[in-house]
Structure formats: structure tokens, C-alpha cells
């Protein structure tokens, strides 16, 4: 059991008979030494998203999901197909299940798929990944402070802000939690 204030985004919390992925947490100090936590949760079975407030010291079970490394195959009409690299079984996840993670999927990449009761519920990206810049406008000469940014499109089509010195063909490291540029790799 863990107390509510210890749960973080991405954890899976059990409330009653249901399991939820924690999408967002807000911690508020209340009166005296008490506190309140507001969760944005996604029901792992129904997919319903809800908000729930609990006292910060309320205790809940954390569910450890099964993890299986799979290969991302393709996306078709909002459904993302993955293949188990040992059994060659295929399964699908929706764009809602993947949320922000969908931005960083490229065909043939290996990724951990999380399963609850044998049902795929989410994928887990590493905290940072490397992607090649497919398109960006050239930066202006002389402005290399890094504080000014421009849009860049990476493999897979996701667009994010990068410093002006980043060019087409560069490989950049991205923080998948913030969906943001970290550094140029080469």
C-alpha cells in the first residue's frame, strides 16, 4: 500500500475493484498538517477519464503491470499495432491509450507494452529518446544563444521547438515526459 501523495503520473492505482492509470496529480496543503491530492485518472478497463480527490494520507494499492517488449509495426486509423518479438503475436492500442507516447513511435522500434490482466493498456517510453530532424527552417546566422527556438519535425511527424542551431539531419535527444528538446546529439 502507498499513501496517495506518493503516486506519480504513470503509476497504476487500485481503487475498489478498478485499476486506474494516474494521468495527473495535484497536491494541495490543506489546514493544519493535512493535505489533499487531486488525481486525473484513466480506468484501465473502460478507458473512462475521471477526476478524484482524496486525502494525501489515504492508502491505496499500487498495481505493477506486466511488461512485454514489443515492436511497433504501423498505425491505421488511430489504432497502433505491436508485435511480440518472441511469440510474434500481434495486439493493438488506440491513440487514447498511447496519449503523448504516440508522438514518438516509429515503425520497427522496440518498446515496452504494459498489460493488465493480459490486456494491453499503455506503452512505456524511455525518459529520453533520440530522433532525426526531418525538417526545420535554417537558423539565422549569429543567433546561437539557444534561447530563441524554431519548429522542427522529427521522424514520425511530431513537431517540437528546437534551438536555432539545429539543422535538418541532426539527431536530437528528446525528453518524452515533457515532449521537449534536450540536446543535439550529432
Amino acid at each position: 500500500m502507498r499513501i496517495a501523495q506518493e503516486f506519480r503520473n504513470g503509476n497504476v492505482i487500485k481503487m475498489g475493484d478498478d485499476a486506474f492509470t494516474v494521468l495527473k496529480t495535484q497536491f494541495h496543503k490543506s489546514g493544519r498538517s493535512s493535505a489533499v491530492v487531486k488525481f486525473k485518472l484513466k480506468n484501465l478497463i473502460t478507458g473512462n477519464i475521471s477526476e478524484t480527490s482524496v486525502n494525501a494520507t489515504d492508502k491505496f494499492d499500487e498495481i505493477r503491470l506486466d511488461r512485454r517488449t514489443m515492436q511497433f509495426l504501423y498505425e491505421n486509423d488511430g489504432m497502433y499495432a505491436f508485435m511480440d518479438q518472441e511469440t510474434f503475436d500481434q495486439l493493438e492500442l488506440s491513440s487514447e491509450d498511447l496519449d503523448e507516447s504516440a508522438k514518438f513511435l516509429v515503425p520497427e522500434m522496440a518498446i515496452d507494452v504494459m498489460l493488465y490482466d493480459e490486456k494491453p493498456v499503455a506503452v512505456e517510453l524511455p525518459n529520453n529518446i533520440e530522433r532525426k530532424v526531418e525538417y526545420t527552417e535554417p537558423g539565422l546566422r549569429g543567433d546561437t544563444s539557444g534561447r530563441v527556438t524554431k519548429a522542427a519535425t522529427i521522424e514520425g511527424g511530431y513537431e517540437l521547438q528546437v534551438p536555432l542551431f539545429v539543422n535538418i539531419g541532426d539527431v536530437i535527444r528528446i525528453d518524452t515526459r515533457e515532449c521537449s528538446y534536450m540536446e543535439r546529439v550529432k
Partner: protein
Amino acid sequence: MKQVVIFCEVIDNFGDIGVVYRLARNLDENYFNVIVVTNDLVKLATINHGASSKKNFQIVENITYISASVLYKYQNMISRTDVVIEAFGCKISGDILEYFQQEVLIINIEYLNTEKWACDLHLNKSFTPIGQKYFFMPSLYKESGGVLFDALNVKKGSCWKLENILKKYGVSLKPSQLKAKKYGEKPLKKILIFSYFQEFSEFYKTLKYDINSEYILILCGEKTQKSIKDLGVEQGNDENVFSIFMPVMSQLDFDALVSQVDLNFIRGEDSFVRAVIAGKPFLWQAYKQEDNYQIEKIKSLLAIISNFMDSDVFEKYSQLLIKFNLNKGEGILRDEYQWFIENLSEIEKSFKFFSEYVVKNCNLVYNLISFITSKQI
């Protein structure tokens, strides 16, 4: 008639049970059958003079009080409950939840919070293994749960007169005890202090050596009295100040006193609300929290008050209130207290507007009953 059971675990002092006693009375007045389950009958009996600390089960003024230690004996009585109120996150064990035979509406009434996020959490759904559970956030915003006015606050007969309340507790204000009466020259200001441990030496000197006014200082609560006694002050006259060390009063008498003085130094939450509703100037001492987090609450309160105060007055008042809540008020200068005391009647206008706003927009009992009704239990 709907039945409400209020669970209250007293941690310290009288604040928690004070709010519950007030809430229970207000719900009873609105035709609810009210049962209060508490772990501290001694505290209850101290503020509610009709109650006994010895009786594990008692009905006082229509409200049933049960000691938490013997609740198991009264399972049948609470099994038909419609609404359960967890006062301030009071935990109800799974065993007790099983007493309820029908689907109950559980409402966790939190501590009063002056921060805006209280509105965001207000009526937020929470988790419970049975029934439905919601957070109810008391605060001073229209969009929040509001605050408890207590209808008794507006019944101001002769029993609400300062002299009569003091007399009830053995304090007689004879004219000879008051210099103002004796000389008949200086105005007399009445100040109530109910605080946590605080540094009052500069404040006391401000009153003692004030050449413009004289003061009655009503000192309530052990911590206040210790803070003042440590300055060498005793009951009675000292230059311009007549100090009164009050014994513990009933809640109603305390409410009356707060409304009858010219200035309140007030602590906690329930007493703070009494001061707000009284429409008199106050300095609120918020419950001290880790990393001085109470200052966030003070700043939030100030943001509300700023709507009712001229900017120059507000600037000085806000500095004073923030200092009052840091380091036991040690940084406050006599000049700052002097400014506050000298401008009380001007400042009072702002607090009257503030009080009117709260009474108009923040009625907790109305909001609570509306919510219960909307759930159609």
C-alpha cells in the same frame, strides 16, 4: 426527515469540535436528524455547556452525541443514515462503513482554506468503497462551499452585550476600573486576543503608552494568556490597559464577544470566521505550517480583502498581517501597531464590506443542503 451522522476526531484544542457543534445546530435547524460521533466529549462539554463529558450517549438540544468508543452499541441507530459527514478528513473505518444499510452520501468537509484552489476541489468526487463521496471545501469564494454563519450570530439581544458576557464569567466592569470612565476624556477601545503563542510586547507597549485611547484587553485561551503573562501583565489596570484573563467560555459567549469588540486578534479557522462575519478589523493568526506555508493562506486572504480596502490602507495592513504570521510576530514595530490602532474606525469600513460580501455569497449551510438535495438520496 433525513439523518446525518457527523464524525469528528478531535486532534487538539476546540476548533474541530467547535465547527461540528455549530454545523450540527445549523443542520438541526434545517430539519435534519443529526448524530455527532466524536472521540472527545470533554472538549464538547467545554464549549457546549448543555453537554456532559461523562455520558457516552446523550441528546442535547435535539442533537444526539455518541462517543466513538461505544458506537458499536448504536449500530441500529445509524444504519438508516442518509448522509455521513467526515469532518476534516476524519477517517471512518471499514467496520463502521458496514453499519450503513443503504447507500450513503459521504461528504468530507475539509478545513477552511483561503486559497483559490479550494474552489477547484469543491464537490470533487472522491473514492469510497460504499455509496458516493465528495469533498466539500469551505472558503471565502462564491464558488467554494462557503463558511458557517450560524444563525445565532444575528440574534443580538442583551445577552450579547459585552458587560453582560463578562459578568457571566465573574468579571465586573465597574466604572472605577476604567480610566476612560474615570477621566471621561479618552475613547475606550475593546480588543479581544485569541492566539497561538505570540510575541505581544510591542503591541502591549503601544496600548499602554497610547496618549489617545484607553483599552480593555480580553485575553482568551491558554496560549494567549501565557504570551501576555510572560510580559509581566496581570489582570486589572496597567496605565491605559485593563486586562481580563477570561476562563474558557461557551461557544455562544465567545461568538458574542468577538462581535462586540473593536478589534480581534484571532487564530485558527472557526474563530477566524466569527471575526470575518463580525465585520470588525482583525489580525488573523493562521495555523503555522511547515516552511511557513501559512503565509500562502494569508496572501490569499489578502487578495480577497484587497477588493474592499483602499490601496494605501491595504498596503500597510497586508504588511502587518504577513509579519503577524511570521516568527510569532516578532518583526512588528510599534509604529505599525500604532497606525493600525489609530485607524481602526476607518479600517472597520472595509471589514464591514468584506463581511457583507461573505454573508451574501458564502453560506455553507445553504450550499451543503443544496448539494445534499441535488444528490436525491
